[in-house]
Structures are given as structure tokens and as C-alpha cells.
Amino acid sequence: MLSGLIFLVLVSSASVLAPLIARTDPTRTNTLERLQAPSARHFFGTDNLGMDVFDRTLYGGRVSLFVGITVAVSVAVIGVVIGLVAGYYRRLDDLVMRLADAMMAFPTLMLALAMIAVLGGSVQNVIIVIISVDTPRMVRLVRGQVLSLREQQFVEAARAVGASVPRILFVHIAPNTFGVVMVAATLYFAGAVMTEAALSYLGAGVAPYTPTWGNIMSGGQRYLQAAVWVSFFPGLFLFLTVLAINLVGDGLRDALDPRLRRGL
């Protein structure tokens, strides 16, 4: 878990500081230095347009992490609010759950691709699409928690002293879902980073020449034989970032859910 956290801090600070670290403009072509192998001058080599893969990978991290964090936070917030309300009011629960079931019947990447076909590709739309795909899953999770929490004595006690429904939901029940929501949010963080890269790689994500990990890999695909580094390094960063987030998620689960500590 610690190594995951350290790696995440490193990647995010490198991405945030990309303009200071990068020695080239990540969108400027330099045809004199096409497809060069990794060297002291270009740590990760250059791509078919002579752009520095190291610099582009740093900039790519900005998009990936931005999408990941925005999705994780939004899904957590929206999911908790809808889940709390649905779990508390039985009538609403039926409707919301049927809708969530229907949404969850669509495989993640399929639905994301179909929505991109309709909305068009951009960072903003990629975020909207991933949020829409993940939220029903979070709602279901929170709602399950609420169903068991609302039968407990402390909720009954709160009701007995005359607490209002919003107060019971947000002050008494919500804090108890925190652990589960945090663990799920890290999973969605990792998933969003992966989905963004996949969409961009498929040409259905962020605009083609913007440096994102998926875009760089997609550009490098045709040069796999001559210049494997173009696709290799951004993919390695994607892999290590997702791995780091998952390790942190595992650590969080062990720390927040003692019931699972023994089992997993």
C-alpha cells in the first residue's frame, strides 16, 4: 500500500509539474528527430513526428489523473446522495433500483463507446460518460448499506429525539457508509483511468493529438516493429498508476473493513 501511495504521489506531482520538467513542447513536431530510441536526450525516445515520448507521457498523466479524480469524487458524491435517499424511501427505492439494474446490464466499455458515439469525444464527455456508467453501481452499494443501517438502534434513537429525515440521512447514516464508499471510489478511480485510456486508444476519447496515455499508445501502434518504446512507456505508466491505485484500495479495505481482513 505504501509503495502504491508513493508512486501515486510521484506520478501526480510529475504530471502537475510537467511544464517545468518537460524540455520540449509536447505538441510540437520535430521531423528531424523521428522515431529515435530512448537516450539521455530523449529518456523514452521519440515518436513518428519527432515528439519526445517522456514529455508527452508526463502531460498525458495530467489528463488521466484529472479524469480519474473527477470521476471518483463525482461518483462518490452523486452515488451517496441518491443511494441514501433511495435506501430510505421504499417507493423510490424500487424505481431507482430497476433503473440501476437496467443501466448495469450494459457492459461498461460498450455503454461508454455508445455514449461517445452520440456525444462526441472530448475530456468533458469522457468524464460525463464514465460517471454515468459507474454511478448506478455506487448507488446500489450505498443503498445496500443504508438498508441495514436504517434498522439499527442509533437511527431509531435519532428518530425518537425528533431528528429530521435529512439529518438522520446525512448526519447519522452517511458517516457509516464512509469506509465502503472510499474503497469503492478508489476502484472507480482506477477504472476511470483505464477506461479513459481505452477510449482514447480506440479513437473515441480525447481529441487525437492531445497527449494522453491512450492517444500516445494508439499513435505508436503502427510503429510497433521499429519503435516499441512509443507505446511501451505510456502503457507502463498507465499500468503502474492503476496498480498503485488498486494497492491503495486494498490497503484501505483492510484498514476500514476489519471483517475482510481475515478473509482477503
Binding site: 430497476r98 433503473l99 439494474d101 437496467a102 443501466m103 446490464a105 450494459f106 457492459p107 461498461t108 466499455l109 460498450m110 455503454l111 463507446l113 455508445a114 455514449m115 461517445i116 458515439a117 452520440v118 456525444l119 482506477a190 483505464m194 485510456a197 481505452a198 486508444y201 480506440l202 479513437g203 473515441a204 499508445m217 501502434q221 510497433l224 516493429q225 516499441v228 507505446s231 511501451f232 502503457g235 507502463l236 498507465l238 499500468f239 492503476v242 496498480l243 488498486n246 494497492l247 486494498d250 478473509g263 482477503l264
Partner: protein
């Protein structure tokens, strides 16, 4: 049992209806653009209007929805906006590659994942257990398409054992067919195997703490028999239920892998349609995978009820 199956079957009706409504609504947002995709730029407003009439886009939304659902159940999935072929005829030749890869991928992930899980549960918290857990975290963190790149580069470019690209139909011989789907199948099986390993391990560790296992040990049964004959039977139940989900996951997971390995499957059809904004194809594939998901899910629930008589809802 029959009543249970019937009840579950009926329960899918509203879900199917909702799924249809959702995907119809999604495509409704795009419908304005559909005319823009097909028509020439020089077309007059009248021509555009005539096309809308011909496509039925001027009818009330509910009429369009009813017509679309009706066509769906008759097996008519619409017509491609670009090639003008029926979507079903575009899909049928692409079924074989996708299903081949998904099939081999399923077999490989079961063969790899379950033994790894059993191995890990043999001595919980041992070095071996930690190694399997570490593999499983890596397995579901590694991006499939990056792994596909690595596999291609290693086994097709550097050590030319497998063909670099493309798909060979099973009708041209089993061996060339296997050669063309082995790399993609291995790549997609890694993440699923990781999930299987983890689920098997967790299930086994849980079951091994139960009283009947203590009884079995007390009878003096060999540890091997306790693990494989007694514990695995019960531990495999949750694994069976996820098998359905994961198989559907593999079918959709091939989407991106088909692009890397340039295999002419359903995933490739979908991605091309998304980029071209060929909505009927996107719509049909979306709806079909959702239907498959719903019924595979139902099937695993029924199997679950068969496998574990304690469970009856």
C-alpha cells in the same frame, strides 16, 4: 424449481423493457445527426425532410419506440447508415472470431485462475499465498491493450511464433485457427484469471473454517481430500455465479484486443461504427450485449439454485 425459473424469467421482462427504453433514448439524442451522416451536403431542406419521413423520424417518439422494439423481436436490427446493409448481415460473419477468442479465453482463465486460487488457499498467508495475491492484483491492473502490445512485440515481432495480425477461420483448419487466437485469448484471460484466483482463494479460506471441515479432518481424511472433495464443492459456488458475468466481460473485453490484433470481430465492427457514427450498428450491439448479459445472469442464478439447494428465493 419450475416456479422459481418462471418467476425469474418474468422478472426480466421489465428490465429488458427498461434496457430497450434507455438505449432507445440514447440513440434518440443522436437521431438528429443520423440524417446528417447519410445526406449530401448539397441536399435541399425538402430532400432532408423526405429522408426523415422515409426513416420514420417524424413519427411520435412512442410510435418509433414501439416499432423499434417490434423489429428487434422479429430479429430486424436495422440498417447501417453508411453501407446500407442490414446490421444482422454485417454482424454474422463477425460472430465467429469474437466467440472463438472469448471461448478460448474463458477456458484459459478457468484453467489458470482456479488452480492458482486453490494453491493460495492451501497455506493461507504463506509466501505462495502472497505471490498469488500479488499476481491477482497485477492481473486486474494491467491494461489489456498494453499487454496485447507486449505480447505482439515479443511473440510476433521478436520471436515469430504467432502470426502478427489477423484471424484464420476454423474452417481453414483447427491448427491455424488456434494459432491466430492463442495470443489474444491469453491476453484477455489474464484479468479474468486474476479474479477467479482471488474468488477461489477467498471462498476456500472461508469454507475451510466451517465445522464440517473439522469433522472431515477429525475422521482422518487426507488434507488433499478435504480440500478438493469437501471444501472445493462449496467454495466453487460463488465462482460459478461470477463465471457468467466474466464470460460476458470477456466477449466485450475482446473489443479492444480485436483492434490491437486487427481481428475482424464484433468489437471491431462496434469501434468502426462509433468512429463513423453509424448509430444503428452501435444501437444493435449495445442492445444485444445487454440482452445477453441479462439472460446469462438469469442462467447462472438458476444454476446457482441447482448447485446449492439451500438457496431458494
Amino acid at each position: 424449481m419450475q416456479a422459481y425459473i418462471l418467476r425469474r424469467l418474468l422478472a426480466t421482462v421489465p428490465i429488458v423493457f427498461l434496457v430497450g427504453a434507455l438505449s432507445f433514448f440514447l440513440m434518440q439524442i443522436a437521431a438528429g445527426d443520423a440524417v446528417g451522416v447519410i445526406i449530401d451536403e448539397e441536399a435541399t431542406l425538402e430532400q432532408e425532410e423526405a429522408l426523415r419521413d422515409a426513416l420514420g423520424l417524424n413519427d411520435p417518439v412512442l410510435v418509433q419506440f414501439a416499432r423499434w422494439m417490434g423489429n428487434l423481436f422479429r430479429g430486424d436490427l436495422g440498417t447501417s447508415l453508411i453501407s446500407r446493409y442490414p446490421v444482422t448481415s454485417l454482424m454474422s460473419p463477425r460472430l465467429e472470431p469474437t466467440l472463438s477468442i472469448a471461448f478460448l479465453g474463458t477456458v484459459l482463465s478457468v484453467l489458470l485462475g482456479i488452480p492458482l486460487g486453490l494453491l493460495a488457499a492451501w497455506r493461507p498467508n504463506s509466501g505462495l499465498d502472497r505471490a498469488v495475491l500479488f499476481f491477482s492484483v497485477i492481473g486486474f491492473s494491467v491494461p489489456g491493450f498494453w499487454l496485447a502490445f507486449l505480447a505482439l512485440w515479443t511473440f510476433a515481432v521478436k520471436l515469430p511464433i504467432f502470426p502478427v495480425l489477423g484471424y484464420t477461420s476454423i474452417s481453414e483448419g483447427v491448427l491455424p485457427w488456434l494459432r491466430s487466437i492463442t495470443l489474444p485469448a491469453i491476453v484477455i484471460s489474464v484479468s479474468t484469471a486474476a479474479v477467479f484466483a482471488r474468488m477461489t482463494r477467498t471462498g476456500m479460506v472461508e469454507v475451510l473454517q466451517q465445522d464440517y471441515i473439522r469433522t472431515a479432518r477429525a475422521k482422518g481424511l487426507a488434507e488433499r481430500v478435504v480440500h478438493f472433495r469437501h471444501a472445493f464443492k462449496n467454495a466453487s459456488i460463488p465462482v460459478i455465479t461470477t463465471l457468467g458475468f466474466l464470460v460476458v466481460g470477456l466477449v466485450t473485453g475482446t473489443t479492444i484486443i480485436e483492434i490491437v490484433f486487427t481481428i475482424p470481430g464484433l468489437g471491431r465492427l462496434l469501434v468502426t461504427a462509433v468512429v463513423d457514427r453509424d448509430y444503428p450498428i452501435v444501437h444493435a450491439l449495445l442492445m444485444l450485449t445487454a440482452l445477453v448479459y441479462i439472460y446469462v445472469n438469469l442462467l447462472t442464478d438458476i444454476l446457482y439454485a441447482y448447485a446449492d439447494p439451500r438457496i431458494r428465493y
